[in-house]
Amino acid sequence: MQIIPEDDKAIDIAVEALEKGQLIFMATETVYIAAVDATSEEAVKKLVAFKNRPFGKPFSVGVTDIKMAEKYVVLNETAKNLYKRFLPGPVTVVSTGTHKVANGVEAENGTLGIRIPDYNFFQAVCKKFQKPITATSANASYQRRPYKLSDILDNISDKQKSLIDLMIDAGELPHNEPSTVIDTTLDDEAVILRQGGIKLKDKNEVLSRSEENTQNIAKELWQKYEQHAGKRSIVYALEGAMGAGKTHLVKGLAKAMGITEKVVSPSYDLLNSYSSPSIVDGSLTHIDTWRMLEAAEEMRSLGLEELITNKNVIAIEWADRAIQEIKSYSDDAIIIWVKIEYLSSVASAKLDGNTDNYRLISWGNI
């Protein structure tokens, strides 16, 4: 192992080492990183051995700019905004990968974390090297954050030391936090784009002026279809922006079904079930796709098909993230699509008073 000071001469030496597939340590604006050629299988294997990781943990990579990033990941709007606002800087943006890096760099689900270190030496090396460099922190797993080379050397085994080819010493770094990881893959608009819009048959539309009002509309929505309960599954597919009142509508449905338990947002638990005293063996299943990466697949694994076969009453929030999946049950279930919208500024201007709580609620069958 060789230790050299961080200066202009070190740039070429570092690039040469990376080209040879060697493991080198260098500084960034956050911590020292363990850098290898992220496209080289051999080099990444060496890194995995050094990090002494159990299995399957991905590595973030550093690049020079957004252009280089776009070779290795697909950037959605959220990601592009993050690059624009926060990079270069201590932020790692996770996007869907293009599978051009070595095995084990991307996560198992094909995502890749990229960052653009705000650090001249790194920029110079990466620019010259023209390939992404792993930017994982230089400590072995579960060890302290590496702000100076001795933080690393004092905490690793001889075997690990033997894996290091080159260390570039920039002295003790300011104790900045490691980079913040931001996962943007849940915001892939492609999911929604693929689904296409929804057209409602027999569209109904009402204006709700309050949360209570919304709950009463839900009651009507229940009474209208109650006769089918126990004979067929009834699915309320809810579409509406954040804060529009989807959960409030489900509270209203539950109340109408005689459920006295408190209905809360299932965003976190994904699925909640409440037994309803007004239907024999009946229950209301409340699902939320907000947190699901592949809403259709996730709902299947949560047993949506079985729920429908068992003629359950189901309310699905953020249903627009899984239109096709929900549509596919239209033979077995009565599907009521419910849209909750904020009023447009034009519409609110025509109404008196504070219209902040007003919502346009429309529904129909699909």
Partner: protein
């Protein structure tokens, strides 16, 4: 009581070994993409991933603790609240081990474990100062996380009176949602906090939730969310500073709401009540929010109430050490024989089942 504890309530596969209140090992395998400090996003994969990882994590917890399944006294497992299919993996593994090694199996509530997590102590040869030397019951208990927002009165271990619960979103969920709206990905609660540090919480104005509640027996974040969506829409092409200001404003208002509800109960129990409450147990992922903790501490000082939080941040995220500690606290009066009568034997073990909506 040496306990092997398992928690697979959501995206983390967690196994720990605890000795009474002491955390001997606490292994958390996070399914999130890169950093274990954030939650995950692939619940359907959760089940499969839990199944693939759990043996490894159990082994790692045991070897780190230098013990084996034959030497532990009992097994504890989270049965709720959480994601049903994920919970099932931990429960099945716990049952398998309990039967194979003839150990009692204690079912534990995830929320109750968060509540009691401040009682955990580190595995250290050096004695630490005991933050509970003057601890008295009843105490307040506050659990704020992605899935739970509850303030309760802890009358005794296992006997809780709910003082306020959320009527819609959990606080952690609301923070994550606000972060996602700001384009900070998911889960963004922790990132929102980081950004908020550089933001001005007074730059914008958001309405305080449930201001008109005279009796403050609930939390609500839906109205705040709505107002935040509106506010964000009026901010044209926000730059980094605007985003930080928005983050700070949201966090500030969300925290004020917790403060107001807590203050109501502080004054209720301090002035009028015959029983005086002198401490508050605080757990759950949002307890890692430094700004909120600071504000709560200040408020509690005013009422001379001591704030108890876990000794390490790791105990606030999903973990299994708190499960072991909770199982111990609830059963510490049972000797081995009684413990076995209550939780041992095929019949008892097989009756342990998931309860996805279990609360306190």
């Amino acid at each position: 009581m040496l306990i092997l504890a398992i928690d697979t309530s959501c995206d983390e596969t967690a196994v720990a070994v605890t000795a009474n209140l002491q955390v001997v090992s606490n292994i958390v395998w996070s399914q999130s993409s890169l950093h274990s400090s954030f939650g995950g996003v692939m619940p359907s994969l959760a089940q499969r991933q839990h199944e693939e990882r759990i043996d490894w994590v159990v082994q790692k917890a045991l070897t780190t603790a230098h013990c084996s399944l034959s030497t532990i006294d009992c097994i504890a497992v989270t049965v709720g609240n959480g994601l049903g299919i994920a919970l099932g993996v931990g429960i099945n593994k716990a049952k398998e081990l309990a039967i194979k090694y003839k150990k009692p199996l204690i079912p534990v509530s995830h929320t109750e474990a968060h509540l009691l997590s401040p009682f955990a102590i580190p595995n250290s040869q050096f004695p630490i100062s005991n933050q509970f030397s003057n601890f008295q019951l009843p105490s307040f208990g506050l659990v704020l996380s992605g899935g739970t927002t509850v303030l309760c009165l802890v009358k005794s271990i296992g006997d809780y009176e709910i003082l306020a619960e959320t009527s819609d979103d959990a606080l952690g969920e609301a923070l994550d949602k606000a972060a996602r709206l700001l384009g900070l990905g998911y889960p963004g609660g922790a990132i929102l906090e980081k950004l908020a540090k550089t933001g001005d919480p007074k730059k914008y104005k958001l309405p305080l939730p449930l201001q008109n509640d005279r009796i403050k027996n609930r939390f609500s974040y839906s109205g705040l969310k709505t107002a935040f969506v509106r506010l964000y829409e009026t901010t044209k092409d926000p730059n980094k500073q605007d985003i930080a200001d928005l983050a700070a404003t949201f966090q500030d208002t969300a925290s004020s709401h917790v403060e107001k509800v807590l203050e109501y109960h502080c004054s209720r129990f301090t002035v009028h009540g015959s029983q005086k409450v002198t401490s508050l147990l605080f757990g759950g992922g949002v307890a890692n929010n430094v700004e909120l903790k600071k504000r709560l501490r200040k408020l509690l000082n005013k009422y001379r109430i001591k704030l108890h939080v876990p000794y390490t941040k790791k105990l606030n995220g999903d973990n299994a050490a708190m499960i072991g500690v909770c199982a111990y606290l609830k059963n510490k009066n049972l000797n081995a024989k009684k413990l076995n009568a209550k939780y041992g034997g095929l019949k008892n073990i097989n009756s342990v089942d998931r309860d996805p909506r279990l609360r306190l």
